[in-house]
């Protein structure tokens, strides 16, 4: 007993204990409807859902020209019939799918030369896409949606990865895979409709709100560009909607399907007679159904606003039954690995007084790792493999400490002990740095699924070296000394 208090008096050991308790609180294992729940976030392969990897149909090209840059870009726009933006001093983003050869020709025709060619979009555009997609997904009430542009080391993003929990592959593709084409049409006579404007005339879309403020009616406000507002006014006047709104409904179409249809309000009709209106509001009704409709409308309004075409380049789906099964199997694999490790070190030392602290140290390391992971990292299959690998390396390093201290078989004097522990920690530090360095490229490069594996491994090694190994050194010293 006195031994136990002596062990606990070392701050290294106390720190580990505090962290373990903190981690258990963070993981928060509890029962809900007879099922064990925790705060651990699971990656897609351990929870039902779909992932989509989408390729940007755009290029970032380097250019040189003797002309004025603005003029060159304008000419290029005409040549390519595409949106062209300057994203850096000598880099252009072309938002349409072109091969290098075609671009070279167009650049030459516009009076410049193509210097570099890379598929993808600039970081800003990628972030914009991320925002649009996130809005779209969140508004649909998707439980857990993640959008990650994969940005290369050169700052160009070629792919964006979308993960949707609880959504089937076909649903997911419907939601994000294709870019919606948004259009507003106006009823002319009978069932005839005329085109008013496309989604590109909508410059911003608000969130569902009440209009007028304080009322119970839900709706979404949106803003038209100058050009768009003029088109809107002209179309309303031409169709006669300003005089008889009830006979000339306005339809909003997404991919040729009517998603919203309503007449002009009386006050809007009268102001349109005088001038173009940029700020518009589409009401959807009162109550929960109105709010729901407003949310959907918001998504639809935004659907036309994805700045770049995307194409699905990879996808995957994990069904519910399989993900639950994976989880159970992972737990079994983990327990089996822990027992196997325990058996080997027991075979080696034959002494519970060494084996038990070793296993305890090792498991507390895993608990702390899981605790931290609840905040920063989803666990997927690969990161669970990383977790089990950490179990292996962890014990390795405890073996180094034990053998170093017991070198020549004798329990050393305190000064010699400190020297040996330092030497053991030196060996561990070097091997830990190599693991961290070896995993760093994976952690930084965002190779989709491998990132979790790398982060878990690095985290495990760092926690081990900084926190649990020194504690084990103290524990084993107390146990071995009188």
């Amino acid at each position: 007993m006195s031994k136990l208090t002596a062990i606990l008096k070392h701050w290294q050991v106390a720190l580990v204990l505090i962290l373990v308790i903190g981690s258990i609180i963070a993981i928060y294992p509890h029962f809900e409807n007879g099922q064990l729940k925790t705060n651990i976030q699971f990656g897609l392969d351990l929870q039902t859902g779909t992932w989509l990897q989408m390729e940007f149909k755009a290029e970032v090209a380097g250019f040189q020209t003797d002309k004025q840059v603005d003029q060159f870009i304008a000419d290029l726009r005409k040549q390519l019939d595409a949106e062209v933006y300057q994203v850096a001093d000598n880099k252009l983003e072309i938002r349409k799918d072109y091969s290098r050869e075609d671009l070279e020709k167009a650049f030459t025709a516009a009076g410049g030369t193509l210097t570099t060619y890379e598929k993808g979009v600039s970081r800003n555009t990628a972030d914009e896409v991320k925002r649009v997609l996130e809005n779209k997904l969140n508004a649909l009430g998707t439980r857990d949606a993640r959008v990650n542009p994969l940005i290369g080391l050169n700052g160009i993003s070629h792919y964006v990865r979308v993960e949707l929990a609880g959504v089937s592959l076909s649903q997911a593709k419907e939601i994000v895979g294709k870019q919606g084409k948004f259009e507003i049409r106006i009823h002319t006579t009978g069932n005839q409709t005329d085109h008013v404007l496309y989604g590109d005339s909508i410059t911003s879309v608000g969130v569902p709100s009440h209009e007028p403020a304080g009322s119970t009616t839900w709706g979404v406000s949106f803003t038209l560009s100058d050009d768009g507002s003029t088109k809107f006014q002209q179309a309303a006047i031409a169709a006669g909607a300003v005089n008889d709104p009830e006979k000339h409904y306005l339809d909003m179409l997404l991919d040729e399907k009517v998603v919203y249809s309503a007449p002009l309000s009386a006050d809007l009709a009268s102001s349109l007679v005088r001038e173009p209106v940029r700020q518009l509001y589409a009401s959807t009704g009162a109550g929960d159904s109105g709010l729901e409709a407003a949310r959907n409308l918001e998504v639809h309004l935004r659907a036309g606003a994805l700045p770049v075409d995307v194409a699905v380049s990879g996808s995957g789906f994990v069904p519910a039954a399989l993900s639950d099964y994976f989880k159970v199997m992972c737990v079994i694999a983990f327990i089996a690995a822990a027992f196997a490790v325990g058996a080997v070190i027991y075979y080696r030392y034959r002494e519970p007084a060494i084996v038990l602290p070793m296993m305890a140290t090792n498991l507390s390391e895993i608990v702390i790792l899981l605790g931290i992971a609840t905040f920063i990292q989803q666990l997927d299959l690969a990161s669970i493999a990383g977790l089990i690998a950490v179990l292996g390396t962890g014990v390795d390093q405890l073996v180094i400490i034990t053998d170093e201290i017991l070198h020549e078989g004798r329990v050393p004097s305190p000064t010699l002990y400190t020297k040996r522990l330092t030497r053991a920690l030196g060996i561990i530090l070097i091997s830990a740095s190599t693991v961290v360095i070896a995993m760093l490229p994976l952690a930084l490069m965002d190779l989709s699924t491998l990132r979790g594996f790398a982060i878990i491994t690095i985290l495990g090694v760092v926690i081990g070296v900084a926190i649990t190994r020194p504690a084990y050194g103290e524990i084993i010293k107390e146990i071995l000394s009188k």
Partner: protein
């Protein structure tokens, strides 16, 4: 061996006495068994029995054979290891069905079915080659209609190529990073070079073995290869530190390092081996592939650390001693 057998009853006796007389855990001169041989009963290998040249020759032959295998695969497929669908593009479908592979071939005759892997629990892993988007959509619909619990993964060819490039860069950077750390740690050429060579041989041999055994290079297995860099240097660093920075006779230091190093690799093999068995039975392909590669790599690590690296270090110390 003898030393150890004698010690254990002694230790038991002492512990018993301690309990009776309330004396502390260990006698002052408690000695842990410290035999020269690996005494786990699998193999007996005396790290000091052979000359450096004898120690290095077999691993070097293995390394040469491995390089030839990788070169051959590179010449035929364009990659050192057969790429899986992560890198070549394609579609993988996991389903649970009692249908035989031949029946499944019939079911999916309209699609470029490459292979059908079978596991217990009636799990089947179907791999399809690249196909166009309409085919793909049709396949996905067909699969989810007939097998609602199917897991589908699809990678486009161009995306696969991007992943391939990124993975290659990651491996190269990892290796360079590891080399820098090792050279910074030891600051002498031969010992650092030996550690790096051993890690390199480890990766090369494992990659070659993947070709022989038929494990494809995928994202998970690339991660496993990188992990091997870390595992492999673990025991190498222990060996080098023990031999170079500790006082004592070379033979004893080598034997001591060997004893500790073997246990280290064994515990890791135990952890990974358990993971391998469970995921094999449980059909978790991702983890199983990682575990297989790690397991192969750890066995090669034994070869590359103990004969190769220990041989070079021994040669280095002997040569330095002569001067």
């Amino acid at each position: 061996m003898e030393k150890m057998c004698k010690l254990r009853p002694q230790l038991r006796y002492l512990l018993k006495k301690r309990r009776e007389a309330q004396i502390p855990w260990y006698p002052k001169h408690f000695t842990l068994p410290h035999p020269k041989y690996w005494d786990m009963g699998f193999i007996t290998y005396d790290v000091n029995k052979y000359t450096p040249r004898q120690m290095v020759i077999i691993p070097m032959v293995l390394l040469a054979i491995s390089l030839v295998i990788l070169g051959y695969t590179m010449a035929t497929t364009g990659m050192p290891v057969q790429p899986g669908i992560d890198f070549s593009g394609g579609t993988a479908v996991t389903i649970f069905t009692t249908a035989t592979p031949d029946e499944l071939k019939g079911v999916f005759s309209d699609y470029p079915l490459l292979s059908i892997g079978e596991g217990i629990n009636n799990g089947k892993l179907l791999k399809f080659g690249p196909m166009d988007d309409t085919h793909l959509q049709a396949l996905a619909t067909k699969v989810s209609e007939q097998y609602p619990d199917a897991k589908i993964d699809q990678i486009g060819a161009s995306f696969g190529k991007t992943l391939q490039e990124q993975a290659a860069i990651a491996v190269i950077f990892s290796f360079i990073g590891m080399t820098i750390v090792v050279f910074l740690a030891f600051r002498t050429f031969v010992p650092s070079g030996a550690v790096v060579l051993s890690a390199f041989a480890d990766i090369v041999m494992t990659a070659a073995a993947m070709n022989v055994v038929g494990i494809n290079l995928s994202l998970p297995t690339t991660a496993a290869l990188l992990m091997l860099i870390g595992y492999s240097v673990d025991s190498d660093i222990l060996l080098t530190m023990r031999v170079l920075k500790r006082q004592g006779k070379l033979d004893e230091k080598l034997a001591g390092a060997f004893h500790t190093g073997i246990i280290m690799t064994t515990t890791t093999i135990a952890a990974v081996g358990a993971m391998w068995v469970v995921t094999l039975l449980g059909q978790i392909t991702t983890i199983w592939e990682i575990a297989s590669v790690l397991l192969i790599g750890l066995f090669f690590d034994l070869i590359n650390t103990w004969p190769t690296n220990a041989g070079i270090i021994k040669w280095y110390v002997l040569k330095r001693g002569k001067r």
